[in-house]
């Protein structure tokens, strides 16, 4: 259906050109990124144009070309193209801190936005860029420092030319170059144009600041985006608007792998108020209208006969109509194979047969939604010159760009990816087959000949949101005569998120499937960690802390089970097993201290409730974390009162942001262990909104106390590591309180008596 409402042919006038009509420039800058935004900027300092023009034509070392990242304006504000997307993790502020430190410019004078797609920004191993894996700061830290230092050097050189003095006679203070002999001050803004003509110095040769003189790095600077986010001015994908835009709502097929057959009431729906047109999309129907609400009601009203989708090279998984998450969990738990070894030390079998006690248990988890509060949307606009502007939530602009190039036949350089603020992501906004609305927006924009914004209702989102993987882990643990663990075997029946997306390779393992079972540093001599690959009928995804989001729960609760069997205190046992590991011993002691000294309980609290504490640890994303939780029970429900958590990310950029991230991760972890669970029956999710998929509420939030430990080790991640240790800490506390081992999540499923 390629006609607009009144059936006239699509003409040139139907393609509006020009900039988005967002009101203020400030808002505009937040709303979009890249070249289109540049056109609106009045005072050019360091233009970003070349970054795009040069794309693909020469070998670019990512992160070296200053003009692709920085624009210093006459008013001395600095526009920074961040390689990473801001979704609440504070990366814009961190980038401004790092670059500002070396550039010698106050981070508060920065306006940060997401860089467009382009090879300049492939900072992770000089190959890719994703905002995920808690990678942003640690992968770009030294590059961004060098970038700032190079820019400073260029400004100094420009000033030397302007003032006609040797460079040695110049110094900088934030935003200015100073002539030390005359005291003359020249603003960066006024030098930027000259600096632009200079070649960029080799970042490896520029001098970097001595960390002991850092003014901003390592300090709890206030975030740059807080005021806008407190006053509704921050612009997310769902808010983006361009001239001449229409809106679309979709109704997805109830299961992946179905396609549109007959539409029984197409004429009636086409005649509904505000409706412009009805469209058939792969696996969905859509309604286009001037106003989204009209489109949404009409899309819901469509009575569609769904038929099997004829799609031979489908990348997605056909959802079988008998898929049941409960049955699938049972299937995983009943796997008997020994699996493929991922990590092995010693000889676990003989160690187990020599052990004084052998403990066996099977642990399970659940599927999860991302549940980010902003439902997915995409705005697509084809321009007169054939290029495409597209605004959408995404954690990896280049990946989306190349996929869009394939879909549309356009060159990558014709596709401008705009990456607005993310209203939460947690892994949701990677490229997942059939789970992002951009192909729909592109098709609709073509069909109606106008820019189209597609918004998925929450219900449509929960129907297509790919899930955090499910596993069942069979543990065997051996204790010596003193009750000390001497052997551990974990065989996980599961599928990793990466192998689910790129295909399972029988000869290699998806490391993300087992991380958290693997990588444990306890001194248990004989161990074997293995995977039994079981393909999941549902589409899978990365979810905050990925494999760690479940595996540390399995391992650390089983470790407590071993402690129980061996009559050991779980905290003391961990200290013993870590006694040769200074970093972790320190961390565990730090969290114990933070909690006022380890006490397991059960004990009676001041308010008369009976409580207990549990501990858990994790080594995720290059950082180390440990948590202690205090719980009580009321009417069979778990109440978490306090969480104490220590994190050691090696070295740090902004401790306030780290603390906020740990609290955030703790909340998401708690939400998972307490209540979250995606249930599928007959191939369909039971919950389509937060009504049947509750997430953590304010009254369920404990006080989270954070200690940031800076051990000086290699810099690790921050956004995700706070999550994994919280789950076992809570579960272990509940086990202590109830005397009943917790071997599955979420806790609300279990009938717990205290």
């Amino acid at each position: 259906m390629t006609n607009n409402k009144d059936n006239r042919p699509v003409t040139r006038e139907d393609f509006p050109s020009g900039a988005p009509v967002n009101i203020s420039r400030r808002r505009f800058l937040l709303a979009s990124a890249g070249a289109t935004a540049g056109a609106l900027v009045l005072g050019f300092g360091l233009p970003i144009g070349p970054a795009r023009a040069a794309q693909g034509s020469e070998q670019i070392t990512p992160g070296t070309r200053v003009p692709a990242f920085l624009e210093i304006r006459p008013d001395n504000t600095i526009r920074l193209q961040s390689p990473f997307v801001e979704g609440g993790q504070g990366v814009f502020t961190a980038m401004a801190q790092i670059v500002g430190e070396e550039l010698d410019a106050d981070p508060e004078s920065f306006v940060v936005e997401v860089a467009p797609a382009g090879s300049d920004y492939l900072l992770i191993n000089n190959k890719i860029r994703i905002t995920g894996g808690s990678n942003s700061v640690r992968s770009s830290y030294s590059t961004m420092r060098k970038l700032g230092a190079s820019a400073r050097l260029m400004l100094l050189q420009a000033a030397a030319g302007r003032l006609n003095v040797p460079i040695a006679q110049l110094k900088t203070e934030p935003g200015y170059v100073i002539n030390t002999s005359s005291g003359e001050k020249v603003s960066y803004g006024s030098l930027a144009k000259d600096a632009l003509d200079l070649s960029v110095p080799d970042g490896n040769s520029v001098e970097l600041r001595d960390p002991s003189t850092f003014r901003w790095i390592g300090k709890p600077l206030k975030r740059l985006d807080i005021l806008d986010k407190s006053t509704g001015k921050a612009i997310y994908s769902i808010d983006c608007t361009v001239e001449g835009m229409v809106q679309a709502a979709v109704q997805h097929a109830p299961r992946l792998g179905l396609d549109v057959g007959r539409i029984l009431n197409e004429a009636d729906v086409s005649a509904m108020k505000g409706v412009m047109s009805v469209h058939r999309l792969p696996g969905a129907v859509a309604v286009v209208a001037e106003r989204w609400w009209n489109a949404k009601i009409a899309a819901e009203a469509l009575q569609v006969e769904w038929v099997k989708r004829d799609d031979k090279d489908a990348k997605y998984r056909y959802m079988p109509d008998d898929f049941s998450s409960a049955a699938f969990s049972d299937r995983l738990a009943n796997e008997e194979s020994k699996g493929i070894t991922a990590e092995e030390e010693g000889d676990v079998n003989s160690a187990l047969s020599d052990a004084a006690t052998v403990v066996e248990a099977t642990y399970r988890n659940q599927f999860l939604h991302h549940g980010q509060l902003e439902p997915p949307s995409t705005l697509a606009r084809f321009n007169e010159d054939g290029s495409l502007d597209i605004w959408m939530p995404n954690q990896a602009p280049e990946q989306f760009q190349s996929t869009i190039a394939k879909i549309t036949g356009l060159e990558a350089s014709q596709i401008n990816i705009h990456s607005p603020m993310l209203g939460g992501f947690f892994g949701r906004h990677f490229l997942y087959p059939e789970a992002n609305p951009f192909p729909q927006a592109i098709q609709l924009a073509k069909e109606v000949g106008r820019p189209v914004k597609v918004i998925w209702s929450r219900e449509e989102e929960f129907l297509r949101d790919p899930l955090r993987p499910m596993a069942a882990v069979r543990f065997r643990g051996g204790l010596d005569a003193d009750g000390m663990p001497v052997a551990i075997e974990a065989i996980s029946a599961t599928e990793g998120p990466t192998e689910s997306l790129t295909g399972h390779n029988p000869d290699s393992l998806d490391p993300l499937a087992l991380e958290g079972l693997t990588g444990k540093t306890y001194a248990i001599a004989d161990r074997r960690i293995a995977q039994v690959y079981v393909k999941t009928p549902a589409m899978l995804a990365y979810w905050r802390s990925v494999g760690h989001s479940m595996n540390d729960f399995f391992y650390e609760t089983f470790l407590d089970e071993l402690a129980d069997k061996g009559s050991q205190d779980p905290y003391e046992l961990r200290l013993k097993l870590l006694k040769d590991n200074k970093r972790l011993t320190h961390l565990l002691k730090a969290v114990g201290e933070l909690s006022g000294g380890w006490k397991r309980g059960p004990f009676t609290a001041e308010d008369g409730t009976t409580r207990a504490r549990g501990v858990g640890m994790a080594s995720p994303f290059g950082s180390e974390t440990a948590a202690i939780a205090e719980v009580s029970m009321k009417n069979g429900q778990v109440i978490v009162h306090d969480i104490w958590e220590a994190i050691d990310p090696g070295s740090i950029v902004n401790p306030a942001i780290i603390e906020a991230q740990v609290k955030s991760a703790a909340a998401l972890g708690l939400s998972q262990i307490l209540m979250e669970e995606v249930i599928y029956e007959k191939g369909e999710p039971a919950a389509r909104n937060y009504d049947l998929y509750p997430i953590l509420r304010p009254d369920q939030m404990p006080n989270v106390h954070v200690r940031v430990v800076e051990s000086g080790a290699k810099m690790g991640g921050v956004g995700e590591p706070g999550l994994p240790p919280v789950l076992p800490a809570v579960a272990n506390a509940v086990s202590t309180l109830t005397g009943q081992r917790v071997r599955e999540m979420p806790l609300r499923k279990l009938r717990l008596e205290s």
Binding site: L264, N265, D268, V269, M272, I297, E300, A301, Q303, E459, N635, Q637, A686, A687, R688, N689, D691, L692, Y693, P694
Partner: protein, 449 residues
């Protein structure tokens, strides 16, 4: 329920043993002597389709995934589940071989063409009142305008001995009225049309009239004081349609009733529970005249016999209380504020006719709390008016509120704003929770063609 039914059926069986012929005799039909006629006229077919709407055949004989009238809908009964049958004109699996007289026997007497008795989940005690003209038209419609579908019927899950259907013959002798609706000359035409629709094809009593020990409706017309006086069925309390000011329609005008049946909503409330199906598939398709007749007839019914109600009036104190100290001390008040007030208002008045009030509605005034509990646990189905789904739906709260919290919040709402419903206990909530499921959020339009 199951036990008492067994006993009663047993008594009937033994007591009637000597009269076995009743059980095997096929009831006579007024069409027995009528020969098959030629092709039906368009008018007759249109009339027949309208009667199908009045009788809401589609609601039970079509599933959302299935073909029109192919049956297969699972119905829970106290005896076990039964499945509705294929009533398309397929000769093998449907009713294609039915003569008009066979059809009539099924509709009005509860006997299938092969002689087996239908369970009274099929409302033949009501349909018995349908006129010959309506039955004839309905037959023509099913035979000519409904697509034949090959779909075998599913056996019921009722176990022996209750699955023996022949005792139902005695049930019929005792509990059906015996005859087509007879107009009352003392009443005007509108009243008579309304009475016919309500008692006959509309079968309102199936839900709204209390049932006796063997599931019989206690009255089939206004001569019985319990007729349409409100009943619990399938986890819902269908309120009284008599003129009680609180538990019935006493405060509703004829226009209010008309609007409710036509649009699914009025100032007093929005259809919910099983009434959504009756509205989505039946009442909204009725002519204005028929709807007004129904309203007229219902308003002529007196209040419930045992009704001693003082008419509800709004008490504004609650809304003030909610934000003040009382909220701390009334269990359920905080829960109401955090979960319910955003839609139904602190004042309990809802939002125009789009979101129903809780102040003064029957579900908050009746002693029976099933509907209030059920809709809170499970939400409500989408109301689809004229092909357009509702803008607002009641979400299920079963995953958010514990039995006790739900009992507290309902107890609060049933006593706030002048409401006089009884307190709700956690046990009542638990019981309904265990055997109900959340309402579907799909926009379900059951197709008749």
């Amino acid at each position: 329920m199951k036990k008492s039914l067994l006993t009663v059926l047993g008594v009937i069986v033994v007591g009637a043993a000597g009269a076995a012929w009743i059980a095997t005799r096929a009831p006579s039909s007024s069409f027995d002597a009528v020969a098959a006629s030629g092709a039906p006229s368009d008018d007759l077919l249109a009339h027949g389709e309208y009667v199908a709407r009045l009788a809401d055949c589609v609601a039970c004989h079509t599933t959302p995934e299935g073909k029109p009238f192919a049956g297969g809908l699972k119905m829970g009964t106290p005896l076990g589940a039964i499945f509705t049958t294929n009533i398309t004109p397929d000769p093998e699996t449907g009713i294609g071989n039915y003569s008009l007289a066979d059809f009539d026997r099924a509709i009005r007497h509860g006997v299938a063409a092969d002689g087996h008795r239908l369970y009274p989940a099929m409302p033949y005690p009501s349909y018995e009142k349908m006129s010959d003209d309506d039955v004839k038209a309905l037959y023509a419609y099913f035979m000519s305008d409904v697509e034949p579908v090959v779909q075998a019927n599913k056996a019921s899950e009722i176990e022996w001995p209750l699955n023996m259907r022949w005792p139902l013959a005695f049930w019929n002798v005792v509990f059906t009225d015996g005859g087509v609706y007879q107009a009352k000359t003392s009443k005007d035409e509108m009243w008579n049309r309304g009475a016919y629709l309500v008692q006959g094809p509309g079968h309102c009593g199936s839900c709204h009239t209390p049932r006796g020990v063997v599931m019989n409706e206690k009255a089939l017309d206004e001569s019985g004081p319990e007729y349409l006086s409100g009943a619990v069925l399938d986890g819902w309390y269908a309120p009284s349609l008599r003129n009680d000011p609180n538990v019935g329609l006493g405060r509703w005008s004829e226009d209010d009733i008309y609007a409710y049946l036509k649009n699914g909503r009025n100032q007093h409330g929005v259809v919910f529970g099983s009434m959504v199906e009756a509205f989505n598939n039946s009442t909204q398709f009725m002519t204005d005249n028929d709807l007004k007749s129904i309203a007229h007839y219902l308003k002529s019914l007196p209040a419930n016999a045992e009704s001693t109600d003082v008419a509800w009036s709004y008490d504004p104190a609650t809304a003030d209380d909610l934000s003040k100290d009382v909220a701390d001390n009334v269990p359920g008040a905080r829960t109401y504020a955090a979960n319910c007030a955003f839609c139904h208002g602190r004042d309990g008045r809802g939002k125009n006719e789009w979101i129903p009030p809780l102040a003064g509605v029957s579900s908050m005034l009746t002693p029976q709390a099933e509907s209030a509990i059920n809709v809170t646990l499970n939400g409500s189905m989408r109301v689809v008016s004229n092909g357009v789904p509702d803008a607002y739906r009641m979400p299920p709260y079963r995953e958010h509120l514990s039995d006790q919290q739900m009992a507290d919040v309902l107890t609060y709402a049933r006593s706030a704003w002048g409401n006089t419903g009884d307190a709700v206990t956690a046990e009542e909530v638990a019981k309904l929770r265990s055997h109900t499921d959340p309402a579907s959020i799909d926009v379900i339009i059951l197709q008749m063609r």
